[in-house]
């Protein structure tokens, strides 16, 4: 039982960077833009967040840097695809290559400048970013570790996902935004400012991805700069969007399930011990395939893939 609770806590931690990436990508895809640059935006966020914390001694500054850097990266993508109508796949892949590259470049540059040969976050930031302890609550059996033992990113991630869900499904703007992803021509005819909301969503999504990157750069790396810290999590987030059926609240569930599947091999019990590790590495993707099959059998009711996803909107071709 104790081990099981620890497994769940680890699963939530492993799911959190995925949650940010997934919610960010959902915001992109809801306006019809398939952004394959999640990995790159997260890498840029990882670098900006870490360096922000390293140079400022302040965790909030680190978060802000990650958010702004993610937005900046998304701005490049948005200008390319929304304004210049470049191919979304190519622009996204380019963003991934560029983001990972520049993030490692800056990291290496900073290490060479550091006297100790390593970049370590100041103790003040490390303290603020690590798991919170609420006197009384965190010590409760079962409930304490499960609800009150995480680092601030976890609570922020759930909050961001909930707010994104509210924005998309419970506000007029959100419904308008969804219309853009379904049929931008009709949205345009209904005098919804298509370009404005595309920019808004892509930039907001990029910022959220950036915070997910900061999780990789700060929490996963334990407070020391290590290159390539995102290491593929951004791609898993792109897959998770499908798993979550483009719904932010499902993204919470999906990313924690994926997190659980990713850490399962470190918490093997009983019959699982003899199974090869490669099987556990495969599980998240096997489950995605199963979910795809199940949702397609249910017809289109469950999966809300934006109808115009992947296509740029040429007003003149309406």
């Amino acid at each position: 039982m104790d081990l099981f609770i620890k497994f769940l806590v680890a699963a939530i931690g492993a799911g959190t960077p995925l949650l940010f990436g997934t919610v960010g990508e959902i915001l992109n895809e809801k306006v019809g833009h398939l952004n394959l640059g999640v990995e790159g935006m997260m890498a840029i966020g990882a670098c900006a967040g870490f360096m922000g914390g390293y140079l400022s001694d302040n965790f909030m500054v680190a978060l802000l840097c990650a958010f702004l850097a993610g937005m900046l990266a998304a701005l490049i993508y948005a200008v390319l695809t929304v304004t210049f109508m470049a191919n979304q796949n190519v622009a996204g892949l380019t963003m991934t290559i560029f983001g990972v590259g520049i993030s490692n470049f800056i990291g290496v540059y900073m290490i060479e400048k550091a006297e100790s040969g390593t970049l370590k976050l100041p103790a003040q930031v490390t303290q603020q970013m690590r798991s919170i302890q609420i006197p009384g609550l965190s010590d409760l059996p079962v409930v304490g570790p499960l609800l009150f033992s995480y680092n601030p990113f976890v609570y922020l991630g759930i909050l961001v996902a909930a707010l994104t869900g509210f924005y998309l499904y419970r506000t007029k703007t959100g419904l308008n935004v969804q219309a853009i992803g379904e049929n931008p021509g009709a949205a345009d005819a209904a005098s919804i400012p298509v370009t404005k909301w595309k920019y808004f969503n892509i930039l907001l999504g990029g910022g959220i991805c950036g915070i997910g990157g900061a999780y990789c750069g700060m929490i996963i790396n334990g407070g020391v700069w290590i290159s390539n810290s995102v290491n593929g999590l951004g791609w898993i987030a792109v897959a998770l969007v499908i798993f979550a059926a483009w719904k932010p609240h499902m993204a919470i569930l999906g990313s924690f399930v994926f997190g659980a599947l990713r850490v399962l091999k470190y918490y093997k019990v009983g019959f699982m011990v003899g199974m090869p590790d490669a099987f556990f590495d495969m599980l998240p993707f096997l489950i995605t395939a199963l979910v795809l099959i199940v949702t397609s059998m249910r017809g289109n009711k469950g999966a809300h893939i934006p109808a115009f996803l992947g296509n740029n909107y040429f007003r003149e071709e309406r």
């Binding site: 081990l3 680890a10 492993a14 990291g107 970049l119 370590k120 996963i220 470190y266 093997k268 296509n311």
Partner: protein, 385 residues
Amino acid sequence: MKKILSAALAAILAFSMVACGGSTGSTSGNTTSGTASATGAGIAKEEIKVGVVHLSDPAEGTGYSYTHEQGIQGMMKNIGLNSDQLIEKINVSDTDAAAVENAMSELIEEGCNIIFATSWGYMDTCEALAEEYPDVIFSHGTGYKSNGTNFNNYFGRIYQARYLSGIAAGLKTQSNKIGYVAAMGKENGEVTSGINAFAMGVASVNPDAEVYVKVTNSWFDPEGEKQAAEALIASGCDVLAQHCDTSGPQLAAEEHNVWGIGYNSDMTKDAPDATLTSVMWDWSIYYTQAVQNVIDGTWVAGQKVDNYFGDMADGLVVLADLNSNLVAEGTAEKIEEVKAQMVAGTWDVFDGKTEITDNQGNTHTLEGADYGSCNWYVENVREQA
């Protein structure tokens, strides 16, 4: 959507094919150029050109490629080569055969006499190119293939340092549970023999302690390495050793106020409040000797190169300075005592004669150079927390 995606994929495919074509073209077109100095005598110091293929970017300041780069720089200094006598290729993925061949072909074109290929996955490309270019020496690290004339293999008895680090861990642990974050599972002899040596070192000073292994199944996985460490700490381990690239396990140990044993580079700089010591390579020992052999004419491409398997006595295998604030009392003395026997050659962990019992009750003998065949864990190793 589908159309665009397939168009994009087709474009990528076309690009990669162009890239491959380019590399093969340059390979076949240059058979005669480059170094043609297999005269039987050595190559003058000024004529030496060293090529290196790195797996990642050595400037990262820690981990595998960094350690090799330290060795290369040490060699440059020891021999006194100019910086323009060194050509390095970085970020060459060892699972991408085309990229490896491309990188090595460029090194050959630039006129390198000796090419150090630092990662396991470069082995087959080295073997093939060695046949094509008999006057270039291909020196491949951590593999097992060689041809005796211009393709050798170099590695070392890292298990000696792991055994010594096991002594530090065994003396330090209070819970008698020691964790080990391993990149690869039991089937990988390099990792597994290291775990065994470490566990035997633990057992030599603390027969009650057990070593718990978690496998990430990847040579580089920052998240997995951290998660594996967290899982080990959650199950009660209070010293974490590692055979993986990042200092993640050391940092996890520091965060949870337990201890660790680093690998590859001295990880005390990352986790000064946790790392007891680190198991390290000093590749400069080999690189210096190899290049010197080429200068002296001991090694001549196309005629003779030897395989190299260094150890603690050579200085190739090193245990970093103990973190004197953290290690248990008596650690330094005990390690010094065993190390003296290893260096003198009077005792070794894997001598090929002593019977070792595995955790299934079977007995084995193991010779250190034969580490690749080790696919069993010793008695005090546990695969399940």
